[in-house]
Structures are given as C-alpha cells and as structure tokens.
Amino acid sequence: MLRSKTSLILLLALVFALNLAETTAEGLLKDGPPVSPRGYQAAEAMRHFERGHLGFENHDRTSQVAIYGYSISYFLGFPLLALGAVLAFAWRDEVAAFRTLCLAVAIDYLVSLPFFLFFPVPERWAYPDSEAILLSDLWSSKLIEWIRPVSGLDNCFPSSHVSLMVVLILVCYRFQARFRTTVLALGLTVILSTFVLGVHWVPDMLAGVAVGVLSVALALRFFYLPPEVTFEAGSTSVSRRASHSRG
C-alpha cells in the first residue's frame, strides 16, 4: 500500500484537499464574528501560558528587514521549501524518503485535525489583547488572504507551518538530502516567522514541533520500508521489494 510515487502524490493531494475542505466548511458553518467566544477563551489560555513574557507592544515598529524577511519566509519560503523537498524526494530512485515524507505529512494533518475542529485557537493578532498585529499586513494584506483558504483563522493549534517544517527538516536529515543544512537554516526562519509575524502563540509552536517529530517517528516506525527487507523465516519471496523503480 502506498508504495508507488503516484499513490503517494495522490495522498498528498488528498491531504491538501481535505484541509481545503475543512477550512472552507468551517468558514461556511461559522455564523457570527470571525473568532468565536470559545476561541477568545483559548487565546486567553495561550496568553496565560506565555505569562506575559512576550510583549507585542510596538509590534508594528518592527524593522523592515523582519517584516519583509519573515513574511517571505512564511508565505513564500515555506511552500517553496516544501515543494522543493517533495520534488527532490520524488525524483530519487528509491521511494523510501518520499514515502516517509508523504506519510509524515498525512499523519501530521490527521493528528492536528481534531485540534483544529474541537480546540479552535485564533491567530495571535486576531486576539485584541495580545497587542500584536499581523506584521505581513504592513507589506500587503493580500499575503494572508492568499493562504486563508488552507489556513483557518482559528486553526492555530498546533502550528502547521512549524510541524510541517519539522517534518521536512527531519526527513531531509534522515534521508541525507543534499541541501539539508540550507533547509535547516531556512526552516528555522519559517518556524520563527510564525511568532514574529504575530500569527502563532508559543504553545502552538511547541505543539507543532511535537506533532512534527511524532509524525516522522510514526512514519518511520510503522510505514517505513527499509532498504534491508525484514524477511519472514523460511520465505524465499522477495516480491515485497518489487517496488524498485528508476526515476
């Protein structure tokens, strides 16, 4: 199951479509203000967790370097890194890396989905008492509008940007991707951008890291086809390895 690259690409497409459908459905079903009272309660809990150590006073006075740099990381860097990694792993002869990546992404979404549905946390800037603004708005409001169809306003916990970036970095290191150091450094800017731009709370980011690590660990533990096949005693069949392909 899910050993061919085609099926794995379909899996990725399915995850993307599910996310799109879930976000759209949430938007359609919402009848009232963009953030629900429950959302505000959750945001208050997040703020309580941070214990007021991370003040966003004068947030809009952050330097232009940070505004443009982190916006590029969040809105452009992340999808490009993800796409680059998908293409690079899909291009490989062996399927193991691509399979791990795709399955980890799917697991990541499945783990996150219940939180999105039952524990709505609004983005930091959308909680007035946080004093944060959406920093990318100082560049263009269109940036957030572009990703809004796949990133709900109150689908903040855990941070998908963080968890998927963690998945990407771990898979790159596990499968010895050539540009893994670059991915690590750029990935860290993506992770930090979720905070700096005023999108995510610290607990979102911590949960994102946890979900990312968990997803990769599960993908490796339960779905990974290692190069050395674990044969059952007495079996002479090697048909399990028939998925070998060349590009």
């Binding site: 370097v65 002869d93 957030i144 800017t189 090697v238």
Partner: protein, 807 residues
Amino acid sequence: MRAFAALLLILFPALPAAAEEPIHFIGIEVNKDSKEADTKLYKYLERHASLKLQTQNMPYSAAIRKFSEWKESNKNSKAAYLARMTPYAYVAAQMLGAEFEILGTYQSKATENLTYQSYFVVSRDPNYFRSEPRLPDVIEYLRKKQPAKFIYHEKFSTSSFFLPSLCFQREHIFATSESTAGSFTPIQVEKTPPGKGSSFLVEEVAEKNADIAAVWDGTKKSVASNPNLYEKVYFVPLGTPLPNDLLVCSPWLDPDKKAKIREALRSMKSQKEEWINTGDFLYWVDINDASEALEALAFLRREALERPAPVTVRVAVSETGKAVPQEYLDAAREAVRLSATEFVLFDEHFHKRVDFSWTLASAHDGAIKLTSQIEGSELEPQEFSISFMDAADLTKRIGMLVHSRLHRIRYVWPYQEKYPAVIRDFEFEPDDTVKVQRIAWVDPDRNEYDEDTPFEAKIARADFHKFQLSEARFPRGLDGAFHFEPMSNVAYRVILKGKSNQSPLFFALTCVFVALLVLAMAGFLWDLRRVRPPPAGFAQTCQTLVEAYHGEWRERQIAEADVLWCSSGEIGKLVKQLQNSNGRLAEEAEGIQIPLGPISVRLSLLKRIFHGVLGRGWKQPVELIGPEQVGDAAALDSAVRYLVGQRQLSPFVGRPLEWEALDSIAARNFQRLGVGQKSCDAHVQRSGTLSALVSRHFQDSVEKGEREASLFRRSWGVEEHDERYHLVSTEPLEGELRPAPERGAVNTLTLEFDIPADPQVREALAAGKGEAWLLGKILKQTRNGHDGIRELRLQFVPVALLAPIQS
C-alpha cells in the same frame, strides 16, 4: 570599637560641618522694596528658625528656569532651597517641573489681605466711556479701537500680563500685525523699557501713550495718592483674587527645619517689631492659616493649565479599500468622542479645517485597517490593523490607539523664551524628531488658521513636565531670545510622533533572521561541497572509480528474477564470513564508552535510545541473513548490499581501471592548470613508464580478488562440457601490462568459471546478449601465450550470476 570611633573623628573632622550646608534663599526681583523685604525675611528666619541661609535674587524667568532645572544644574541635587515666588512664576515653574512645598504667604499692606486683585487700566476717554466701565465695556473698547495698544512690564507678572492674556484669549483678542480678516480683534502689545514698574504702566495709559494695561492692588493704591494721575484712568477689576507672593521650599528640606520655619512664620504676626513692613509686605503667615490664599492659588493653577487646542478628526470610509459596515464607522466616531483627548469630531458645518483624516477599510478576517493622516503635515500616514470582538470593542481599541500610538498635536509654550518647550500632558512617549509648523489663527473656535511650511526639530530633553525642543529653526529676536508671544495669534504647532523604537525582543529576532540567512548561505555552500571531493591520488582515484562502478548496487534490490544462477553453498559461506568479521567489529564498537559530562554511557545504550526514539528506519548496517533463512535471492540481496555499503568488495572489476584513473587525474590537473575551462577528456598513452604503475596496482587488485569477493559485469560466452557450462570472457587489454614482471607482459585478459549446466541460464544470458554480473572470488591466475597473444587467465569461484538492469 571606641578606638575606631575616635580614629574616625580624627580622620574626618569635617563630617559634622558638611551636614550644615546652607539653604539657598532665592527671591524674585520685582523692585527695590521686594529685595529689602526679602532681606528682612531671611534674617528673621535665620534668627527664629536657626537657619543658615545663602541669599540670591534673580529675575522671573531666571528663577523659573533655576527651579525647573534644579536637580540637573546643581552638583548636589538634594541641596535645599527656600524661595519667595510670585504666584504665576510659582505656577509656571511647577509646570516646567519644579518641585515646591508652600510654607507661607504674606499679609499685604495694600489690600490688608492675603490675596489681591488685578485691574485693567484704561484712559478716561469720554468718547468710549461715559461712566465707570466694567469688563465687557473694556472689551468693547478694544474692539472699537483697533488696534489698541497694550503695555506690560514683565511676562511672568501675574496681574500685568498673565491674567490679561487669559482674558484676551477668551475674547479672541490677539496681538498681530497681520491681516485682521479673521474673527478676532487685533491689539498691539508692547513691553515697557527695562526697570520700569507697574506704576509706569498707569502713567503711560494716563498720558495716552498706551490704551490699556493691567496692574495690581498695590499699584492702584499708590496711584490713588496722586489725584492728577488717578483721575485720568479707570481701574476695571479683572477676574477673581490672586494669592500674594508665596514662601516655598524644596520638598526634600529637612522636616524639622520646615516645622521651625512654619513656627517662625506663625509667630511673626504677634511680634510687631519683627514685621517686614516694607513695600507691600506687612508680615508673613503660615500657609495653613491662609485658606483664601490657597483657594486663589488653586484658581490660578487651573487657569494656567495649558489646554490643548481641539484637533479635528474626520472619520470616513476609504474610497479605495473594501467597504466598512456603518456600525464600525460609528464606533470609530465614538472612539474620538470617548477618548477624552484634544480630538474632536470634525463638523463640516462648523469647523473650517480638518486636522486628522481617518479612513477605515475592511481588512481580512473581520479586522479593519485605520489610516490616519495629518493634513498638510508632510508626514507619512499611520496605518493600524485592528482586530476586535464587536463594535463596542472596536471603540475601545481605537481609543487605546489614540492614547498610545496616534501622533499628537501640541503647541510651543509661549511663556518660555530661553528654549522652545512643549508642556507635557500625556504619557505617550514621542519620537525624538518632531514636525513643527508655524500657524496663524484666524478663528480658533472653528479651527481656521493659515499655515507655514513645516520643519523638523528634535526633542533635546524630555521629562514628565515638558519636551525641550532643539532651537535650530525657531525665529529669535536680536537679543537672542525666542520671542514667542502668548498674546499673539501666531503659534507653533508641534506634531509629536509615536516613538519608532522596536521592542528589544523583535530587534533580537531580526538579528536572528539575518544570522539564519547567513547560516543558510554558508549551509548552501557547504551543501554544494557535499558531493565527495575528487580523490587526491592514484590509489584514491582508483578506489573512487571502483565505488562508482558498484554504485548502482547501493539502491538496487535483487529480485528472484534478477538471479540467473547462484550457489546456495557459496552464498552461505560468504554470508558466514561477513557475519564473522562484522560481529567482531560490532562487539568492539558496542563496548566504547562515550563521556557525557560527569558520566559515561556505552555507545550501545545510546544507539538503543536513538533507535527507540526515531524508529528502526534510521541508518543501520544492512542485516546479513543466510540463504537457509530467507532463500537464495534475499540472502544474495543482503550480502551484495552489505558488501557495497561497507565497501568490502575487492577492487577487481573485470578489467584494469587504472588507465581510466590516470586519465581522470590528468584531466583534473589540466583543468587546474587552465588547460581548458571545463573538465576535459584526457587520454594517457597506454604504454611507457606509467604501465609499471598500472601493472603493479592491477596485480594488487587481482590479489585482493583472491581474498575478497569481486562483483563485475562482463559479456560471457558459454561452452558446455560434461553437463557443466564453462563461461568465458576474453578482452584485449589497453596496452601491455606486467602484473608479475618476472613472468613477462600480457595483452589479453580472460575470465572464466564453471557452473552446472542449466538451459535456462543459457537462455537468460542469450537474452541479455551474454551480459551478466558475476559475484565471485578469484581462484587462480595463469598465463597463456599463442599467436602473439599473451594472456592472463583468471579462474573464478562463482557465487552468483546476476542479470544486468534493463535500461
């Protein structure tokens, strides 16, 4: 202990004297009488309160500045002072940051009271006044007599300047020489020559050299003794009573001394021989016994408050942005009203000018974008993205922005002539750079004014009371002072921008971003170099070529169909041999101790933890499994992967790779020496001195092939003998080699081995045009020679024959 105390006394005899530092006694110079009265007062205090005083007299403005900058200008910021202050000088100094505690006030000889009254003085001109005029008549007089001339002797005089200026402001009477097209009444304001007192003001009005002046009770009383003068003027009461001069001290003056001073002041009244009785000063009283003076002072303080002029705000929907619901527009308007600041909503039927334009546009996710622009300021508009829960919350959010972030407009305080100052009345911390604009009021109520080009100034100093501006572009008089005119309609509008400092956290995160970018670039270069560097020498180059030759077996998975033939026994032997050598290495490695701070951990434990956390998929050596467990093909697969992965194959690959290695070395060196821009193909001549080197290395490879398994691809011919197939592959060598120099040169390499006859093998080989990979070991090498062919024959013990990948 006693000896130590005695030593201290010997070493520091001056210590008790230092505690007796004199108290500064500062009096404001009004006239000769006031100076004399000050002398009597401080001598009295020295006697009755046991004080050591150091006296000093100074003019109004110097005294105000001295007290407002006391802590900065004195070496000992806690040096105590006593001062006699006129009421407005007291209030003005306090507005600029001076700290006072009032101790007393005096009984006036003129009013026989603790307070006094201020009066407008106008000429008894029957053309304007038919009877004793009242204040409205005076105002009417000024309106008719445009421009009337007002004279004063001191800007900080409460009665002669401050109260009249307040009255003029209320009545829209301004000192101006400019167009009178506005709704205000122009007057001419002139200061008398230095040294002239308030009596001179009355004389000037009586002589019709001036139309109006203002004086206090004392002057009125002294003029009353001169009927010629008194009957030429009217005295018109101006406003409520004012307190007499005050005796104040620094709040940090020793409480005992304060108590003694109060006690001395209280006792002065009962000791007639100690009365001041000079000028208007009769005697001093404790302020706690002068409630009417305190009440009058409170009134003055309220009058003196710098009230920010209303700033009009027009709230509208952005024409270019997305539509905003009406309720949000109303919420923004409510915010203006409820902010309790100088901001007022612009009323197009009343106000003439808009100061702030707020435009609202819907942003994403229910938020709104508020853009605030100060008209005519040349400042960039401020943009705020505001999230909110509902319309009421939006009002609150905008109100908070008004208080904390929005630019504010204030005016230069015109009473301060030494430096341009803005009286601070908000907590908002402004940016160091401010915009200043000279404006001329036309109609202050309707916010109508003419404006000049704005210019920039810096906040040179800021405290809780004022912002002191840089003096660069403010106009000065010939005397070097700033001639800000409190009675003028000209004002300097100061736009205070919100401080533009980013928080340290975000500054740090910006630095982190830059560092990560640098790291990414360095990482990219590192990653680019990750491709293994070119081998350094001949042996390494040969090894690299061998590994490249075996490269496809790193990822290739051997299926049953890939195995043309194999020997279970030989596979078993090979696996066993590899397991034995692997086992020894593993045991050695597992025992290694890793020091982790104070403890050391066995490598095996770390590996177990690592694999436990990250799953079994993490890089592990290939597991070797014998054919008896999993069958031939799978065992072969594991063995080949192991051999390739662990680089345990012999370097023999069915032909000498040494010439190609030399070609590669030559090509690299040509490139390095600039022979061609790119890596070019080099071809080393297959003879001469290098053949000895090639021969020696090839011989080593062959010998290793006798000890270790070789894996290579050749085209095989099949001959059948006695139910066995004899597979042979013969190829001429590139140039002659002398693997064993004593046995002569060879020019052909023949490889051969035997397997049991199996038609399927023959068919499979035929299908692949004889091409197949052989895994095996060299059994022996022999030489043959015939017809000029000098042949090296290598006989193999075959383990498996594998089909090549079909491209």
